[in-house]
Every structure is written in structure tokens, then in C-alpha cells.
């Protein structure tokens, strides 16, 4: 039988993560695309770390940080009186960090492509930096946003290692699709594993297909 709860948990996690990533990833990408600061390379590297680190490494340190004895987990427990590890919130924190490069990098690239020239033109016409960002940079970066949202969302859906390390496997709370598949395979329930796997495969393909065909339509001719 197919359970619906893991699907809901997965979609909820991906949606919340993507929204949070847009909120914090956009300013980070903007800063990275426009700064001449010497810290740029450091921040760039930190953001890109999840691309190269094994999810277990990231998961391990997140587990330490989120546990009631850890820095973040302890603070959280002090404020809210609930543990952060093995909770949905903890999962969101882990996913945000893990999917960060998939949102920041396309945004940064598209901000860089829009470039200084039109920005300067907007300045000389009386638009301040926020006005310029809102009315020139963002509309001209909409393809970057589309790619960032898709990759952020899809990558969170496909996440496994970090979730396993910090989320546990609590049905209806932190149990996501990739874990359910793993569980079924472990007890040799291949039929169930197939249902979920083929579902994820088709879902991922459709999302990417829609995004990339839409992406072409959004292209702004210069």
C-alpha cells in the first residue's frame, strides 16, 4: 500500500525550504554578485560546501549542533522548550543549508549577467539601489529565479543523507519519501519501493521539463 503521509511531509519540507532559501539566498546572491570584498571567496566557498561534502558529514555536524546539548539545539530548547533534533523544524534547517548552493548559484549567475550597465543607467535616471533591484534586476533575472526555485525544490525532495542523520524516521513528522524507499528496500519490499521510486522519477522529470520549457519562453531578448 502507498502511504500519503511521506508525500505530504516531503512536499511540505521542499516548499518551506524553498521559500526560506529565496528569502535568505537572494540577498546572499546579490551581495556575492556585486561585492568587491575579500570575504566574497570565503562566503562563496561556504555556500558551495554541500556540493562536495558527503551528506553524512554535514548531517553529523548538524546533528551535534541541533541536539539539546548543541549550540543551536540548546538555544532552541531554551526558547521553545522542544528539541530541535528529530523534528520537522530541524529538518528544515538542515535542508536550507544543504540546498543553499542550488538556489544561490543560479541567482548569483543571473544577477551577474544582468550586470552593472543597466544598473548604472537606472541610477542616473533617479532609481536608488533598492528600486533598481526591484524593478530592473529582479525582472531581468526571472529565469535565474525559475531555475533557483526548481533546483532548490527538487534537490530538497531528493535529499536523503542529511535527513537520515538529523530527522530520524518519524512517520508523519520527519519521514520523507527517500527514507520510506530505503526502509522498503531494506526489508526487501521491492514492489512498494518501486511505487515510490517511479513516482519520484516521473515527478522530478516533469518538474524539470516544465521548468526548462518555460525557461525558454522567459528569455528576454537584448
Amino acid at each position: 500500500m502507498i502511504e500519503l503521509a511521506p508525500i505530504f511531509v516531503t512536499l511540505k519540507l521542499a516548499t518551506v525550504t524553498t521559500l526560506i532559501l529565496l528569502l535568505i539566498g537572494t540577498p546572499i546572491a546579490w551581495w556575492l554578485s556585486s561585492t568587491r570584498s575579500q570575504f566574497k571567496v570565503i562566503i562563496e566557498s561556504v555556500v558551495a560546501l554541500p556540493l562536495v561534502l558527503p551528506p553524512t558529514v554535514l548531517g553529523f555536524y548538524l546533528l551535534l549542533a541541533l541536539s539539546p546539548n548543541g549550540f543551536i539545539g540548546g538555544l532552541w530548547a531554551y526558547v521553545s522548550d522542544t528539541p530541535l533534533s528529530f523534528s520537522f523544524t530541524g529538518l528544515v534547517i538542515g535542508s536550507v543549508i544543504y540546498s543553499m548552493p542550488f538556489v544561490v548559484q543560479p541567482l548569483q549567475a543571473s544577477f551577474e549577467m544582468v550586470g552593472k550597465p543597466v544598473q548604472q543607467a537606472a541610477y542616473t535616471l533617479g532609481a536608488n539601489s533598492f528600486d533598481t533591484f526591484k524593478n530592473i534586476i529582479i525582472p531581468l533575472s526571472r529565469r535565474g529565479f525559475l531555475v533557483a526555485i526548481t533546483l532548490g525544490f527538487a534537490h530538497t525532495v531528493g535529499e536523503f543523507g542529511v535527513v537520515l542523520m538529523i530527522g530520524g524516521n518519524i512517520p508523519e513528522v520527519t519521514q520523507v519519501l527517500s527514507i520510506v524507499i530505503y526502509d522498503h528496500v531494506e526489508v526487501l519490499e521491492y514492489t512498494q519501493a518501486h511505487y515510490y521510486s517511479i513516482g519520484l522519477l516521473i515527478f522530478s522529470f516533469v518538474v524539470l521539463f516544465i521548468t526548462y520549457s518555460f525557461n525558454r519562453k522567459l528569455m528576454v531578448r537584448i
Binding site: 568587491r36 570584498s37 575579500q38 552593472k116 550597465p117 543597466v118 548604472q120 543607467a121 537606472a122 541610477y123 542616473t124 535616471l125 533617479g126 532609481a127 536608488n128 528600486d131 530592473i136 525582472p139 531581468l140 528576454v220 531578448r221 537584448i222
Partner: protein, 361 residues
Amino acid sequence: MIRVSYKKQLSDFLLDVDFTMPDTGITVLFGPSGSGKTSVLNLIAGLDTTGPDEESNHFQNTSNFILNNNIIDDSNKKIKLKPWLRNIAYVFQDHRLFPHLTVKDNILFGYKRRNCELDPQDLIETFKIKTLLTHTPAELSGGQKQRVAMVRALLSQPQLLILDEPLAALDYPSRQELLPYIEQVHKELAIPVIYVSHDIKEVLRLADYIVVMDKGKIIDQGDIANLCISQPLLTQQEGASFILEGRVSEIIEEDKLVKIDCGEDILITAENMPLEQNVRILIHARDVSLCLTPPVDSSILNCIAVIIEELQTDKNAKLRVLAKLGDQTIVAVISHRSAKSLNVVKGQKMYAQFKATALIK
């Protein structure tokens, strides 16, 4: 009065400029590429992007830029207005229209953000862009893009308009098409214009005042008429040249000539020149000869009465004679021997002869 003074260490040279330009008309910033013209423009517009390595030299960078009694930049008072607060519009070499907006939204971008009293309709008509309003920039030709960029800049009602080689990226026909619009701007709107160019034809045609730059320094500045006489370099001709301004008073079609009234009538080879058009004529001093009486039976068409004003010895040991035609100056280069035999002295009335030269505009 507009005072511009900047000292700034650039990556390859020290930019050190200080000039005062009139608050009407077109001031041309002229110089070879790489002489720092665009750096000056970016400092004026507040777009200068100082890198960290340049910043380390900041102690020797100074600025003082006053526009219509407002301090825009002043390193002593630690004032540096943001570009969007300067009210200085900029037409770039590459049009820089916003690709995601229609022509209409492009030209209204600055208009909406500043309390502009100009009527967009007037400028739309002047620049003949009415039929383009619903198009996007990608659908326009190079010349059309620059016209839209000009309207966009003007509709932000700037106190100063910067034109950075607006014709450079265009082909010859588009340049010829755009030039009259630029002339119209400074006739119809009382906005001072800084025009950057390294094309001497454009300079001679448009400039009222000129600032000549080389390697980050100003090597000369002044009214265009005076500067042509003192700066042979400018016209890329050996020896001095001068400019006469006048108005087309008659068209002699069968001889392909036009008569220009510069105080006296001058005949010039030209076609397709409308009557009453204001024109400038560039004449090389070595093409001008002087005589005491108006010659008869000469093949040379132009012979005008002038009053000798000044005699200068130039570096080739020739004598440079400056003479007045009304309030305009003409220049002739003659030998000392001719000067002696003709007994040329200051205040004397003489006749200047020269051939029908070509027009600048």
C-alpha cells in the same frame, strides 16, 4: 557655472582634471581613447567604481564638483552624492535600454521618479519615436535605440546631460540621422551637455566649448573657435585652422555651390543644404592668402575684407596673421618676406582669399 575638479589614481595613470564649463551649450571632452574621458564622466555621474586596490591610494584622491551652486562631490567636506540623487542623465555608448520594458516604459522610467515638468509628448514628437512606443528595445535599430535613450535621459529632467560617444556604435547613415537631434537638444532645452568624442568632425560640428584631454590631464580648453586656432593637433592638420560660422543665404544649384553669410558672403561647395541653415566652415590657414586690393580676374571665388588684428611668428618661422571678419577671426599663414613687401600691420584693412572649401555642417 559648472566646476569639475577630480584627482584620482587610476590603475594605469593619475587622473588630474580641473575645469570650469559654461552652463549652457555643448562642452566637448575630446581626446584619444584611453585618455581618461570616460573616467571623468563616471566620476561626474557618481558611477565610478573604486576597487579595493585603488582605494588604498585614496588619500591622494580629491574631488570638487559643483553643479548650479549645488555641491555634488567634495572630498574636503566628505560629500559624495549617490548617482540617483545627482540629477545628471547619461546617454551611454551602448544604449543601455531596459530590455524587459517597452520603449514607452523605458522613457517614462526617469520621468516617474523625478518631478519632471517636461511634456513627454513634445519629446516623443521631436525625436519621432511615436510609432516605436509599444516596441521592446530588441526590435529597434541602433539609431532608434539611441534616440529612445536620449528621450529617456531628457525626460528625467537632468541638470546636466552626459553623452558618451553616443554615435560611436552606429554606422555612418545612423550617425548622420542622429546628429541633428543632438543639435536640437541644446537648442530647445537649456541643459548643459557634456559630449565625449574622439571624432574631430563631431567635435567641430557640435562643440561650443571644448576640453582637450590626454593621459588623464587637460592639455587645453576654451571656446571652439579660439581653440582651433591655437590647437593644430585638434584638427589633425598641419598648421592652424579656423572656424567661420554663418547662415546659408543662397543656393546656386547649377554650380553646386551655396552662399553663406558670415558677415560677408562666402561661397562653399555643397549640396542638399537647406536655406537659413546655420553652418560652420573649417578653413585651413595655409589655404588663405592676403592681398591689399581685391584682385580681379582670379580663379579663387572668395575674397573678403578683413581687419588685421595680430601678427604671430609660428614655430616654422612663418608669420601667422589673425584678422577680424566682424567678430569672427580668420587666420592666414604667410612668409615674413611677403609680410614685409605688403607691409602688413595691425589695424590694416586687407582682403583674404581662399577657395570654396567643404562644410562641416
